[in-house]
Amino acid sequence: MKEVRIHGRGGQGSVTAAELLAVAAFEDGKFSQAFPFFGVERRGAPVTAFTRISDKKIRLRSQIYEPDYVIVQDATLISAVDVTAGLKPDGIVIVNSEKSADEIGIDTETDVRTIDATGIALEIIGRPIVNTTLLGAFAGSTGEISIDSIKQSVLARFPGKIGEVNVQAAEKAYQLTTSTKRKPHKKIKSRKKGAVPKQSEKIPTVPFGKPGTSEVTRTGDWRVFYPEFDMDQCTRCGKCQESCPDAAINERTLTGRDAEKAQERAEELEKAGTIKKAAVKKAHIRYELNPTYCKGCGICANECPIQGIKMKLEEK
């Protein structure tokens, strides 16, 4: 039996990846099993999913503690989660990263392969959804599963155009990884500690806890796109701020010369008929992004009544 553990974040399709892998294995004539372990049900929160592949019926229902393979959908997880825990010595870790295996700071002596799945997904699919690309890389790197079965399972799940581009992305990753040779990897001595401070493990008798942990969760690490505000068009309605799930949009009040400049600009725009008079009065108000917490979800852009927020690809 071969066991695969997939680490990702909510919304990245880790669970779907595990399921597609199980379906592909079934297509290959194997028995298979895929199941998730959800943490908090929230976009961006760490998620683990599991796949077992066997020649016999699978009865085992526990999670996977000694995987043969690990897939990491998001390299920022490496500092927060022990992704290689229990990995078999001859196992393989496949990481979505544009960096090399030695550069990503992974604490293991096992075979680490990196692939720029985000780059491939953005290029071919047009969205940073990397799960199918990584399955192509899995097929290429491990040979445990045929790329044809991966393609078949992707097309069955996503019929039409979406399926086709996902298949292309998987194929590209497959081609890139089949030629990769196993390379011994240097163990990192001092491991980068997680961004989330470990809270005291002791628990109280009554389930009372300190409120909120979002301050210590640097959700900005998850961002691929960021919102760009068009302050010339903006009516200062505040919908973007209200809708931000991470309170990552700050309102700033300009003063002095800055406020005067904003006022002059607004008056010009009003004369040109671009904005209404009411907006001129609020010209000194600015919306600004807090990059530490903005995870690039795009809800603000979706909610903006004048489409004044554009999601832009973040420069690496």
């Binding site: 229902r61 526990s62 002791k202």
Partner: protein, 394 residues
């Protein structure tokens, strides 16, 4: 024929094959996928049934009771807090002897809030007069959905039935499923024909009042019906096996119990992991066995007595706890053994609460306790993380 799919989808397809006329449910994780899939099947015209959208689980069960009383085959599914909210009407369904079938996607109860799997929700409804069966895998969940209607609608018993499947561990797991052939299901499960039902042309009162002169007799009949269900379940399982080629054994399944000195009893999907552990230990020459307790209500006391006649010790795994007493299964097994001629040593374990994983090593630890004859408490929390607790003396 086998096909790979999510457990919830397999159950939805089984429900479709059973051709219920009314489905009423309220979504709650981890049951949601089941009722979403069913509502999709109805919307797509693949299942001719009325899907009643309700504002709560209490209403879902109330709608099922009303619909079932008019003679319609009905289905619902829920879990955890949803099942707890149904509590009041659950008893009505049984007392009115309505053959409603419900899938329980087992999940822990609050507080603290927990969405993961254990058996506390359905165990807390054990006294309601419903048949309860716990399944090991998703093919069994699918097959038992069909069997459940045959059992519940049997004229000799007429009682509702819960098919309990582990939330996430089964509901959200993709695995190969033995599909049900619609023609075979139609032969096996003919349309429901009730004896008594609400009919405007022949008005009757239903679920009416019974004073102290009569209440006991209604309760007694309900109780006897559950005992009779053991026979009905045996017959239905046998016939199902002949038609579909899959037999899950009786009320309990004994796994490598021949010559076993130490036997562990468990319910639900964790039995798969237990069977693998038994194989490992048997390979190492240790004489262990497993009992999968499939039917929890009615409780298979005679079967347990017979299966444990020659064992040295029995361990019981409860994924629930009757707080202030012990795990419910443990109490039932001990009660069954009280009337047995030979009594093995009993080890009661509580584990796997609120989604805590039970790996093979945990079963090895339980067998070790039994083999070393360790002194343990009446409900040993064997996977307790003592390091995060402050213990206080009272």
């Amino acid at each position: 024929m086998m096909e790979i799919m999510e457990g919830s989808h397999a159950v939805a397809l089984a429900v479709k094959a059973a051709r219920p006329k009314v489905v009423a449910a309220y979504p709650i994780t981890p049951q949601t996928h089941i009722v979403e899939d069913i509502s999709q099947l109805i919307a797509d015209g693949e299942l001719e049934a009325e899907y009643v959208k309700v504002e709560s689980e209490h209403s879902a069960m109330s709608v099922c009771i009303g619909a079932s009383a008019t003679g319609a085959r009905t289905y619902t599914a829920t879990t955890s807090q949803g099942l707890a909210l149904m509590h009041e009407v659950i008893f009505n369904a049984a007392g009115m002897r309505l053959p409603i079938v419900m899938t329980v996607a087992n999940r822990a109860l609050s507080a603290p809030l927990n969405i993961w799997n254990d058996h506390q929700d359905s165990i807390s409804e054990r006294d309601s007069g419903w048949i309860q069966i716990y399944v090991e895998d998703n093919t069994e969940a699918s097959d038992l959905t069909i069997q459940a209607y045959r059992i519940a609608e049997d004229k000799r018993i007429q009682v509702p039935m819960m098919v309990c499947m582990d939330g996430y561990t089964l509901t959200h797991t993709y695995e190969p499923i033995e599909l049900l052939d619609q023609d075979l299901v139609d032969d096996f499960l003919p349309p429901y024909e009730p004896t008594d039902y609400l009919n405007v042309d022949d008005p009757k009162s239903f679920g009416m009042f019974a004073d102290p002169d009569y209440y006991t007799e209604f309760r007694y009949q309900n109780h006897e019906a559950l005992h009779a269900a053991k026979v009905v379940m045996g017959e239905v399982a046998k016939e199902f096996g002949e038609v579909f080629g899959r037999d899950y054994g009786g009320l309990i399944e004994e796994y490598r119990c021949d010559g076993a000195e130490y036997v562990l009893i468990a319910m639900g999907s964790v039995v798969g992991t237990l069977k693998d552990t038994v194989d490992d230990l048997r390979d190492a020459g240790i004489r262990v066995g497993a009992i999968k307790l499939r039917v929890y209500r009615p409780f298979p006391a005679e079967e347990i007595q017979r299966a444990l006649t020659d064992v040295e010790a029995v361990g019981i795994l409860d994924k629930n706890i009757s707080l202030g007493s012990e795990g419910a299964l443990s109490a039932d097994v001990k009660s069954a053994l009280y009337r047995s001629k030979t009594t093995p040593k009993v080890f009661s374990f509580v584990a796997g609460l609120g989604g805590r994983d039970i790996p093979k090593g945990m079963f090895v630890k339980m067998f070790d306790c039994m083999r070393e004859d360790k002194k343990i408490s009446t409900s040993e929390f064997i996977d307790l993380r003592t390091e995060i607790l402050d213990f206080q003396e009272v």
